[in-house]
Symmetry: C2
Subunit: 104 residues, 2 copies
């Protein structure tokens, strides 16, 4: 199993609508990916390496899929719609990573 | 529920022993934290924003806990042992983040 992690680095003055991300963006991705999305997680940053220190990331999401290839095959036909939706909830340029799930 | 995410940024020439991380470091943390660790995930970076691009992070782990306070109360007595174990598997300075779990 693989995990697609999208990270939104904290940036001065950045905008991020957590409600839209939770209630609209991720459900839309799940609907478009269908069976290629085995589930997802959403995190909202609250602190850095010690309480009181700012979180390095405003938000993260993690989308689980059987393989990199199955994720990409399902994502590609909807890439324009999904990427085009990002401006609705944030001004932050996301960082993206594919990982092998070692322990879930 | 909160999630403690530890990220290891990819660095030229860095060392990371994924087997030690999976088989020794994380099981040790789970044992020391006891009931304050509700479970954990381990990710191994395989690609960046496109296949063939390097993953921004060599590895990540995510430790679930009831609250920031319960995690810290359980972690503090073992901090020296846990932090001291890091040199056994990596030369990378980890980045740490506390997040609120919005969707799991």
């Amino acid at each position: 199993m693989i995990k697609v992690t999208v990270l939104y680095p904290a940036t001065d003055g950045a905008r991020f609508d957590h409600a839209y991300y939770r209630d609209s963006h991720l459900p839309m991705i799940q609907a478009r990916l269908g069976a290629a999305c085995l589930g997802y997680e959403i995190d909202e940053g609250i602190a850095g390496d010690a309480p009181g220190n700012a979180a390095p990331f405003v938000a993260l999401c993690h989308i689980f899929s059987d393989s990199l290839e199955s994720f990409q095959a399902a994502f590609a036909p909807h890439a324009e719609e999904i990427v085009g939706d990002v401006a609705h909830y944030t001004s932050i340029a996301p960082v993206m990573q594919f990982s092998k799930v070692v322990v879930r």
